[in-house]
């Protein structure tokens, strides 16, 4: 008891060093042992991220040696032994285009929902609606995929793609036969899937804005919309931006639903030149081909190389998003996060 009490001020300075010294000198109490063991288990999170990076890099060395930077700029994807060629560019673009559609469609809807929930809805409506949104977030992606394949796809084909083709089919982005299993459908199903994430975090961020902000705006004669726009959105913008980036991160990494509706083209056929074309994303290629790749083959290494690329995208996006969300939620102080 007294030992751990005395130790506290020092601990704030160099906790790890102090633990190590105590361990090496074999003078520790159960309390020290407890703290050390919790520290080690917490450090397992660092270990996991390190091991992931090392294994992904090690696994993709063969394909990176074989194709050098051509792996990132190539558009061929041939896994037939003897004429193998691997380039991830079509899949990277597929991921970027579907995620961009998801953000372009999903974010305005999410922000509308968040503004309504945080600023306008009465308490009971806010509670009920928040709960429905959380349920939407809980639906597994494989079920979104199944629903997308057998239901949503036909809505898109009949009510969106068919009219677009007959009126604007001449534009290059709308080339192709509307089939419902294409880049557009994948982007739109991702939009539905990121709405819960983006709207609930944006709502929390907006509710963290001090009410003095709103009062100040009202006191200089702002209308309700002006209060929301300048007082709330202006104040919370970096947190909302973070929420959007987190949504983007989810869209980039989403696998099953996309795999089931994007049509799964391969190689240069997967280049997203038209919204109505069948495509592929980094995640969907891994999901589709991993079972076929022989262990130790160049094909497997190429798939791990896609994993590495996806990992880097996700890492950058998420680190960025966490920093943005933290900056706003910290304002509330204490343990709000």
């Amino acid at each position: 008891m007294s030992l751990s009490e005395e130790a506290r001020p020092q601990q704030a300075k160099t906790p790890i060093r102090k633990r190590l010294d105590a361990l090496l000198a074999l003078r520790f109490s159960i309390d020290d042992l407890f703290e050390t063991s919790t520290t080690i288990l917490a450090a397992s999170i660092i270990l996991i991220i390190t091991v992931t990076s090392v294994l992904l890099i090690r696994g993709s060395i063969p394909v990176l040696e074989g194709f050098k930077t051509g792996f990132f700029t190539g558009t061929n994807w041939i896994s037939v032994a003897g004429s193998e060629s691997y380039g991830v560019l079509p899949y990277v673009l597929g991921t970027l285009v579907t995620s961009a559609i998801a953000v372009a469609v999903g974010v305005p809807l999410s922000l509308g929902i968040a503004i309504f929930l945080a600023e306008m809805a009465p308490w009971s409506v806010r509670n009920a609606l928040s709960r429905v949104i959380e349920l939407l977030a809980a639906v597994p992606s494989i079920i979104y995929g199944f629903w997308g394949l057998f239901v949503f796809r036909f809505w898109i084909r009949d009510y969106l793609e068919a009219p677009i083709t007959s009126y604007a089919g001449a534009f290059p982005v709308f080339q192709g036969t509307p089939f419902g299993l294409d880049i557009l459908t994948a982007g739109l199903i991702l939009a539905i899937m990121i709405i819960p994430t983006v709207s609930s975090i944006s709502k929390d961020v907006m509710m963290a804005v001090p009410s003095s902000q709103r009062e100040a705006a009202y006191s200089i004669g702002a209308t309700r919309w002006e209060v929301v726009r300048t007082g709330v959105l202006g104040y919370a913008r970096s947190g909302i931006f973070g929420a959007i980036i987190l949504g983007l991160g989810r869209a980039v990494g989403e696998t099953m639903a996309v795999t089931m509706v994007i049509g799964n083209a391969s190689g240069s056929a997967a280049l997203p030149t038209s919204l109505f074309k069948q495509g592929a994303t980094m995640a969907s290629v891994i999901a589709n081909e991993f079972g076929e790749a022989e262990s130790g083959s160049l094909h497997l290494s190429a798939l791990i190389g896609i994993g590495l690329t996806l990992f880097l995208f996700a890492l950058v996006i998420n680190v960025f998003a966490q920093v943005m969300v933290w900056r706003v939620l910290k304002v509330r102080g204490g343990s709000v996060e």
Partner: protein, 260 residues
């Protein structure tokens, strides 16, 4: 709201006709066989959840205790940050990790590899919710315990953690709901199987994998019907866990939930 309503409507409408006692208890075997069921997939999902909890819950609890009790320093902030980043990792990348570590070590696909992948998905959620719940415990409770001369580790485990147990259990249940629907990492680790459990080092089936397999065979009407039935069972499990938790804990911040 429309998507949720449509998903529930379709899944219940198309899944309900498939459900019967033999459907829920028989193994899949050959899907065109009329007695084919999803008993092995339900069993596999429950086994995966169990093994995953055995791995992830103790580590997550202790990591959460560390962050809440000792984590107010640079190391703690780093861990908290990396934990949030890990929570948002694409699950298929975690699948590759488990494949590279466990599947290659054992030499073939196995249930334990799937449990490792799911543990890595579950760990950050449990860690974060444990930390949040512990931080909500009033310091007077901790002070009272310390004043009685109870040691710090006993205070943490038997007083603070027990006081925070509602939040901790919520986090664990929500993370179970999350992992029971994960498919991508299982594709890379447990492979799927048409038969009942035959050992942790052998391939195993799971509800989301069964749905995916049925999707690939969906030109057989029986596989399609089975897929909808399995989707109904899975969605009932996941939404049931979520609704149950929310009924038990009203009015908590939705931030941790949005992450789960």
């Amino acid at each position: 709201m429309l998507p949720l309503a449509s998903i529930l409507f379709e899944v219940v409408g198309k899944g309900l006709p498939a459900i019967s006692l033999s459907f829920l208890t028989r193994p899949t075997g050959n899907v065109t066989d009329p007695s084919s069921g999803i008993g092995n997939a339900i069993e596999g999902t429950l086994i995966l959840i169990g093994v995953t909890c055995l791995i992830a819950v103790p580590i997550g609890l202790f990591a959460g205790i560390y962050l809440a009790e000792f984590g107010d320093n640079k190391f703690g902030r780093t861990i908290r940050f990396l934990n949030d980043v890990l929570a948002e990792f694409p699950s298929i990348v975690i699948g590759i990790l488990a494949f590279s570590v466990v599947v290659i070590a054992i030499g073939h696909f196995s249930a334990i590899a799937g449990a490792v992948a799911l543990s890595i998905i579950m760990l950050p959620i449990v860690t974060r919710t444990t930390e949040e719940s512990i931080k909500l415990v009033p310091s007077s409770i901790r002070d009272a315990s310390m004043a009685l001369g109870i040691r710090r580790w006993r205070t943490s485990l038997s007083v603070v953690l027990v006081t925070a147990k509602d939040g901790v259990i919520t986090g664990i249940m929500l993370s179970i709901a999350r992992i029971s629907g994960e498919t991508a990492p299982l594709l890379l680790t447990v492979l799927g199987s048409g038969f009942f459990f035959s050992g942790l080092d052998q391939p195993i089936d799971a509800l989301p994998l069964r749905i995916f397999t049925d999707y690939k065979n969906s030109n057989y009407p029986s596989a399609l019907a089975q897929g909808w039935g399995a989707a109904l069972v899975l969605i009932m499990l996941v939404l049931g866990l979520n609704l149950g938790v929310r009924l038990l804990t009203r009015g908590r911040s939705s931030f941790a939930r949005a992450r789960a």
